[in-house]
Symmetry: C3
């Protein structure tokens, strides 16, 4: 139940981050809605398509669509005040990152996939909405260049399976996994950590 509420909060935050980027690209309201939608549910949709869990998630539960629509309307109305909410939005977004990772890992487990694949699915769920958003906005995905985003999901996924190996209760696994993802993301942003880039001399 709690995880569902957090899932919706994450969806809301991801949708707003999509709106902000679509506005920068001067899209019309339809474009803004699609970018918000894709940012919020694109990762989960890709995950569902790859494992064959169709119709994909948002088709079976309209609350995702309603949440995204609400996020779009609110962001358009308060468009010039969103910057003041930057910190809250970042926090919600980070919660979404943690929760989406857990959901992706759990779906992988219920499909009987190998732990490594489950971690990949958690990472896809949490961070590939942003990848699809960037492609639709004609940019190289930011998480391939500088944002340490997926790494937090991967380490969270590893935490999940380590704790599961020690037979911790599900609730505790969820809390520690989310805490891991969230704290890595916060540390990374606070200390402006970047993964090294590699190129040929």
């Amino acid at each position: 139940m709690l995880i569902y509420v957090l899932d919706i909060i994450g969806t809301f935050a991801f949708a707003i981050s999509g709106v902000l980027i679509a506005m920068q690209k001067r899209m019309d309201v339809f474009g803004i809605f699609i970018i918000a939608f894709v940012t919020a549910v694109g990762g989960g949709t890709l995950r569902d398509v790859l494992i064959g869990k169709t119709p994909v998630g948002w088709m079976n539960d309209l609350n995702y669509g309603y949440t995204i629509t609400l996020a779009v309307i609110i962001s358009i109305i308060f468009k010039n005040k969103l910057n003041r909410l930057r910190t809250s939005l970042f926090l919600f977004d980070t919660i979404g990152l943690g929760v989406f990772t857990i959901i992706g890992v759990e779906i992988g487990i219920s499909a009987n996939l190998h732990p490594i694949i489950c971690i990949a699915l958690g990472t896809i769920s949490a961070s590939f909405g942003g990848v699809i958003r960037d492609i639709l906005c004609n940019e190289i995905p930011v998480i391939f260049r500088k944002e340490v985003y997926a790494t937090a999901c991967i380490l969270g996924g590893i935490t999940f399976f380590v704790l599961r190996y020690f037979n911790l209760k599900e609730d505790l696994i969820y809390i520690f996994t989310a805490a891991m993802v969230i704290s890595i993301r916060l540390l990374v942003v606070k200390f402006r950590i970047q993964l090294p880039s590699v190129y040929q001399k």
Copy 2:
């Protein structure tokens, strides 16, 4: 039967519009074929993948492939005369928009999905081939920026369900839905209507 004929006409028109854009990008004949293919059947393919209706449509009915191949050959041969046919092409394209919307909505209904999702599927069927085409051509999708295209599909989809609620006969529902999509699209182009774009000051 009529709807199948119209579907093929729409596929033909969409394929030609793909060829025209691929030529602008100076692609080779393979690239031109792929862009034509994606423009024509990309929306339906995305719809089928999202709901798990696989193998996707064009794999089960080669007429789509043949139609697209024919469209590519004809457009390459008559490449310098296509501009004279601009009006006819626009008309066929608009017919395709109406028909693809109806097909998408119907497929959603037969998958027992919620009317909102069915309307989304109609819109995806009719307008996301162009989105995939634009991404492959390295452009921000035109329907996210200025073309009022998807909105016509959405309003057509709503018309569909309103008429269905009043138990109209299927044929009439189809005719009115297509008429709605087509007339909105024609009005929009005639009066150069655009959706408002929103951005931060």
Copy 3:
């Protein structure tokens, strides 16, 4: 068995070619890994999604993931020496092209699809990893503009069905198909052959 070994060699070579392009784009190590991954298994993944063979291939056999990881590590360590291996890499890449085509065709046959669709699936398997790679790197896919790559797969696929029609043994079909793909690709590169591009005056 041999085809599996060649499949892994092809995966390795495709992954390295992905790394090289990701480095040119100055991606970080996560981005490099994803581009390598997508280049190597993206075509097969798209094929599996389109025909509904899910979970997609690399989720059921971790050897693909391990091979790609190894390819990324090796390419990063020896990044300034890769140019000397250009010829070997090109050869491995071409072997991959041939083998991936055969695998795609075979999967189409076991899904009872029409030979034309099987050839399309072979071509998608072998050449659409590069398409997805180019999109993620924000480029118009190189095989739509100048590289004669997919054409080799198509001609290989046709060879496959011609020989099958004459009831050749499977092994021989494989060898001749791969030989066809590989020799066309080599000829094309040696003589710098390009497909004609078409554009309006």
